[in-house]
Amino acid sequence: MKHRRTSFFVPVALLGLAIAVLAAFTAAQNAGWRSHTSFLSLTFPDDLTPSVVARRGTIYLILYFATVLVVPVLSIAACMLVLWDLADRRNQGPNTIERIL
């Protein structure tokens, strides 16, 4: 029972993490923090201090790279886990999947 709950929990957790990263990135994007990536070229807009620009730009970069590189990996991994579990259960007996469903 515990094993089954964990098997269900892990893909959901991975997808939940992916959605959380996506939501945080969307928030940073909507807040206009993309423009603060100009700190990479050591160019800082007039209205903010360099440290604020660098901090926001760094957070945006981390969230952007997480969205592009990590979110798809988590989503693919979640799908793989579900498929693997289904395959395991099919191998363990004809009634296992019915029991789960």
Partner: protein, 399 residues
């Protein structure tokens, strides 16, 4: 049947082991595919025509909208006044290239070029070369008096020469030759053939730009600087090479001491200019620079600022060096010029993929800027995407 039994009787794989295996597999599947999202959608190695036109549109808009110009230039000038100046040079060079590629477009581009050159000359005359130099240029006197900067004179000559190669402008012939004279005299009067851009600082980048401008003069005004340029390069090959890498160093004292070894933010553009003097030598240096500074991984390309083993501090030219990869925004931007100039399609494509991935292209009213970059960075990218006909025109006369 026996396999099925074995499967069902074997110990079940734990959920965490499965998770680790699946995440690892997903990573292996996904990472090699990322490049396809960001690869330029064009058959050529560089950015597409639409992107290049949109980049040019923004550079032109900067020079026709004083508010936008201030908004772009002032933050750059606060960090480094040189960038304002180099942004002008790269914009002029790019628009000159585009005028040569499409003579009908010259009517649009030449007035912008003239505005940039006029504004540059006006500021230089009013405030002296210091207006385009970093503050420390005033910290001590130049060795040679009256003080002149090879950086400023050389790039102004390069701008005017490029303009004249597109279409002659008689009123600037005198200015062009004056600037070249101010470049040539201190180089010729120096035992090491090095002239200052800053007090007792002589830069490869600036000398290479001057060589380009001198050869423009040969093409435009019938002068003959080829032998001098070859003599300078011969001395550079003997005295300005970093022994560890075989690459040209970037910064020297006027007595020839190397102050800074090879740098990504210097070498790529310098080699592009030195191609005009000795293509074979420049190509050999380019291959070495690719080996020491150029990097590619999974379809993404970048440039290091320093060769491996050369530890140096990140500076205003390198930009914020990305840890682990040692990717330099400044070096990578100029690597585009090197890759385009030497026809290194593979590297150019990987650099453009990185641009789309990590420089954050942003369109507004049909104009393109890279958010992680600034005006000088965008102008350098535009130049890299358009270069070709200007150097071909110079070489029509250079043996």
């Amino acid at each position: 049947m026996s396999l099925q039994k074995a499967k069902s009787k074997g110990p079940p794989t734990g959920p965490w082991t499965k998770t680790i295996v699946c995440v690892a597999l997903a990573t292996v599947c996904w990472l090699p595919l990322v490049r396809f999202i960001f690869r330029p959608a064009t058959d050529g190695p560089g950015l597409g025509t639409r992107e290049v036109e949109a980049l040019a549109k923004r550079q032109i808009r900067i020079w026709s909208d004083p508010v936008l110009k201030d908004r772009e230039q002032e933050p750059m000038r606060r960090s480094n006044p040189e960038w304002d100046f180099m942004g002008r040079t790269f914009t002029v060079l790019a628009l000159a290239e585009m005028s040569l590629q499409s003579p009908s477009a010259a009517a649009t581009y030449l007035p912008v070029i003239d505005t940039i050159i006029d504004d540059t000359l006006m500021r230089d005359r009013a405030e002296g070369p210091w207006v385009f130099l970093m503050g420390y240029s005033k910290a001590r006197p130049f060795n040679v008096t009256p003080a002149r900067s090879l950086f400023v004179d050389g790039e102004i000559a390069l701008m005017i020469g490029a303009r004249r190669l597109v279409r002659e402008k008689a009123e600037w012939i005198g200015e062009f030759q004056d600037r070249l004279r101010h470049c040539l005299e201190p180089i010729q009067n120096s035992r090491t053939l090095l002239a200052e851009s800053y007090p007792d600082e002589c830069w490869l980048f600036d000398h290479a730009a001057v060589m380009g401008a001198l050869l423009m003069s040969d093409r435009l005004d019938g002068t003959s600087h080829v032998r001098f340029c070859k003599r300078w390069l011969a001395l550079a090959r003997t005295n300005l090479i970093d022994p560890a890498t075989g690459l040209l160093g970037s910064e020297f004292a006027q007595d020839g001491r190397m102050l800074d070894g090879p740098e990504g933010s210097s070498i790529w553009f310098a080699l592009h200019c030195l191609r005009l003097v000795d293509d074979e030598f420049a190509r050999g240096q380019y291959d070495l620079a690719r080996q020491e500074l150029g990097r590619s991984l999974l379809g993404f390309g970048w440039s290091r600022e320093w060769p491996p083993g050369h530890r140096n501090h990140a500076d205003i030219d390198s930009g914020v060096v990305i840890p682990v990869l040692d990717a330099s925004p400044g070096g990578s931007g100029l690597a585009l010029i090197g890759a385009a100039s030497f026809g290194d399609s593979r590297y150019l494509r990987s650099l453009c993929t990185s641009l789309n991935f990590a420089a954050f292209p942003s369109y507004k009213n049909g104009a393109l800027k890279f958010t992680a970059s600034n005006q000088v960075g965008d102008a350098a990218i535009l130049y890299a995407m358009t270069l070709g006909p200007l150097w071909d025109r110079i070489r029509e006369r250079t043996p």
